[in-house]
């Protein structure tokens, strides 16, 4: 009760502070070249207010204060404490409050960390950022207030969706948000820098830290979401080309491209338009993701709130930002790139540009696949859904040249270079092609495309390994690129070598085919704190492997949901994955057994990519 009121009024004050900061900054921008100390203080005050509000909501969740509508809808007294706390951001209102918290935190850190940048630029960034913050404050207070009061007060809450009761998912949204919101700083900063014509080498060095930080968080966030989907949703896959996954991948692609452009801009004043457009699109795509997920315009497993008013607000806000940035770009951006320093065909820049275009291609394919159903529905009222075959057909062939350029590019020098050790590069390419051809031939002889694809992935793999010995200085780049090659390889082998068995079994029955046997030994029923658990006991025997697996079926009471917990035996080379599902009114269970090779390596390689980003970040901070 009390904590809710405190939280609500802090939000109102926070909104007022936003207006104060905007006025202060505009005056400051006009009259002086120094940054007014008050802006810094007020930014901190604003952060503190949102923090108080956020803590207020957490305490309402912890003490199960059901006079608060958000708590009532999303919590329950029997829920474990950890999930009560994480439940704070597991819902629409709380997650937006978290957005706001990170937004205000980041602008404060930005102000502290940017002291060596021109003051006018800093002030202007604050103004743009405060416009975004103001928008989020109004959105939160007007359409999704987390502190709505309920009367009469209920004894018990409606519970949290049990699918969301999972450690990976509990930290997935905050991490992803750190990435999304970090891109808002990039957005404001690029608008400010464009207006002041301040896009230069120093600016690139300074913003690179922010780009890397958001990139690291975004990558981690996507990884966590993917891990969660893998073992919680019980489908046995880790990426489904679901619209909501796509909207997190799109900013990632834009951000990755942006980072590589900044690497060039650090050295030479080219690629300025690329940098500006990519910075703008990264944040716009993040916002677009929020819009698509939160408005319920898309049909997806993740769709949370279905409220047209909210959708309308985010949509209008998003397009206001889009139009502001378009106008700023066209009015202030002078294309003064120095044409006297030409780009040679054989240089690092060229290979970067080529791969930038490939990245843009991947991005547009995903964008079209995600929003096309909406367009089609509006224009011709046809309902379609775009599935994995679309993405696979359009993306995979282009991955081949992409991987090869990714391998060769880092070997080239800036501006103009000659390919040294050509024989070495060609030899490696031939080796990789042969290697993959012989591997593939044993499994599926029909796929020529696959063997070229795996060949190019192997090529990148070998080249990056070689780079570890040749160029010890660029450790971060090597680690990240090596991780990427490993990721592609693991995904490909995982796809080709996966096996799946689906059957219906009863206790005591068994399934047998020529290389394995599944025996359903028994079923144990247990009453847990907020659910009833049915644990199956399966023994699986195949050529190289003998083990006991215990998949679980949980029947939650609040709300009444059945979830299936996979049991996964993880080894270095493969995962054995089993899930059970109840078949209506029978004592049979639907058993799904999967062998997924190299699953662990998919996670490890993404972690390697993140590690690459982190090393680069730490190096810069020295």
């Amino acid at each position: 009760m009390l904590s809710s009121s405190i939280g609500y009024y802090s939000l109102i004050f926070g909104l007022c502070v936003s207006i104060v900061i905007i006025f202060l900054s505009i005056r400051n921008f006009k009259i002086s070249n120094n940054l007014d100390k008050k802006i810094l203080i007020f930014s901190f005050v604003q952060f503190a207010l949102v923090l108080v509000s956020f803590l207020g909501l957490i305490s309402a969740f912890v003490f199960s204060d059901f006079s608060n509508e958000t708590v009532f809808n999303n919590s329950h007294t029997t829920k474990p404490l950890f999930y009560k706390i994480t439940g704070t951001w597991g819902n629409h209102e709380g997650s937006l409050l978290l957005w706001l918290l990170v937004l205000t935190l980041f602008i404060f850190i930005f102000l502290l960390k940017s002291k060596n940048q021109p003051n006018k630029y800093r002030i202007l960034t604050v103004i743009f950022q405060q416009i975004i913050i103001f928008g989020f404050f109004t959105f939160l207070i007007k359409t999704s207030n987390p502190f709505n009061y309920l009367f009469p007060i209920n004894e018990e809450g409606l519970g949290l969706n049990p699918i969301l009761q999972d450690p990976a998912l509990a930290i997935h949204p905050p991490i992803l948000y750190l990435g999304y919101v970090g891109s808002s700083i990039i957005f404001s900063s690029v608008l400010a820098a464009t207006t002041l014509n301040n896009i230069n080498i120093y600016w690139a060095k300074h913003i690179k830290v922010w780009v890397l930080t958001s990139w690291v968080f975004l990558t981690l966030g996507i990884l966590l979401g993917s891990i969660w989907a893998y073992y919680e949703l019980g489908w046995g896959g880790f990426w489904f080309w679901d619209p909501v996954e796509n909207v997190s991948l799109m900013p990632w692609l834009a951000l990755t491209t942006l980072f590589h452009c900044l690497l060039v801009l650090e050295k030479r004043p080219i690629f300025k338009s690329w940098v500006i457009i990519l910075s703008i699109s990264t944040f716009t795509l993040s916002m677009c993701g929020t819009f698509l997920v939160r408005s319920g315009i898309l049909n997806s497993v993740h769709t949370f709130a279905n409220d047209p008013e909210r959708g309308l607000f985010i949509l209008s806000f998003l397009f206001v930002l889009v139009f502001i940035s378009i106008f700023i770009f066209f009015i202030f951006h002078k294309n003064d790139e120095n044409y006297s320093s030409p780009i040679f065909l054989l240089s690092k820049e060229t290979s970067l540009v080529i791969n930038n275009w490939f990245m843009m291609y991947f991005l547009s394919v995903i964008l079209i696949g995600t929003v096309y159903p909406i367009f089609l529905d509006v224009i011709s009222s046809q309902k379609i859904s775009v599935g994995p075959p679309f993405y696979h057909k359009l993306l995979i062939p282009f991955l081949i040249p992409f991987l090869i350029f990714m391998a060769i590019g880092p070997r080239l020098k800036w501006i103009k270079s000659e390919l040294k050790g050509k024989s070495n590069l060609i030899l490696l390419l031939i080796i990789s092609l042969f290697l993959s051809f012989f591997i593939i031939r044993n499994f599926d002889p029909n796929y020529l495309l696959n063997s070229i694809l795996i060949g190019s992935a192997f090529y990148l793999f070998f080249i990056t390994i070689q780079d570890f010995f040749i160029k010890k200085k660029r450790l971060s780049q090597n680690v990240a690129h090596f991780g990427f090659s490993l990721l592609i390889l693991s995904i490909l082998f995982n796809n080709i070598l996966s096996k799946e068995i689906i059957t219906n079994l009863r206790v005591g029955e068994s399934y047998k085919n020529k290389d394995l046997e599944i025996v359903f030994n028994d079923l144990i029923k247990e009453d847990k704190k907020n659910y009833v658990s049915f644990t199956g006991n399966f023994s699986i025997t195949d050529k190289s492997f003998k083990s006991l697996l215990k998949p679980e079926l949980r029947v939650y009471n609040q709300p009444n949901i059945i979830t299936s917990e996979a049991d996964i035996k993880i080894t270095l080379y493969r995962d054995n994955f089993i899930t059970i599902n109840s078949v209506k009114n029978e004592d049979y269970f639907n058993v799904r057994y999967l062998v997924k090779p190299f699953m662990l390596w998919i996670w490890i390689s993404v972690l390697l990519i993140v590690l690459g980003g982190l090393t680069s970040l730490l190096k810069k901070n020295d």
Partner: protein, 172 residues
């Protein structure tokens, strides 16, 4: 100059996207059966209940009179409730009643007809439920009043005495 043109093009492009999204917001994204009143009836072919012969829909609704298509199933309790009402319409000479047996077992369906009577001049089979989808049915029971290959009235759920009265008024 070219700069200005590009600006205009891009701005209008984004305005267009905005409008599409805006319209999309108001569209519900749940599946809506597409056939409604005043639509032409769908063309389909189905097995008949007794003879197990394929019949084309064109050969059923071909006369200039009223037809009543009733989607039913033996496992559906509301169908059992509305059945006497449909029986009461059987005597009407201006109306021909067609049954569409939805996702049913033949044995149970026969028993249902034997117990409660057969008001239908023809019964068609829809074992996998696809014909009902073509008709735009939400579930069972559902009843369509048809004249001149057009759906005049659609009743979702079981018929009641009022709707029977309405049907009688239509065919007067």
């Amino acid at each position: 100059m070219t700069n200005k043109k590009t600006l205009i093009v891009i701005t209008s492009f984004f305005t267009f996207i905005f409008l599409i999204f805006f319209k999309g917001l108001n569209n519900s994204n749940t599946y809506k059966p597409s056939k409604s009143q005043n639509d032409t009836i769908p063309k389909f072919s189905a097995y008949s209940f007794y003879e197990k012969k394929i019949i084309n829909s064109e050969n059923i609704f071909n006369e200039k009179k009223f037809y009543l298509l009733n989607i039913w199933s033996s496992w559906c309790l509301p169908c059992r409730d509305e059945h006497p009402l449909i029986m009461s319409l059987k005597e009407n000479k201006k109306l021909e009643i067609i049954g569409l047996n939805y996702k049913d077992k033949n044995k149970n369906a026969k028993k249902f007809i034997d117990d409660l009577g057969n008001p239908y001049s023809r019964i068609l089979l829809d074992n996998d439920g696809t014909k009902a989808i073509e008709w735009g049915a939400y579930g069972v029971p559902e009843t369509f009043l048809i004249f001149d290959n057009k759906i005049i009235k659609k009743y979702i759920g079981p018929l009641n005495p009022e709707s029977v009265l309405e049907i009688k008024n239509y065919i007067k």
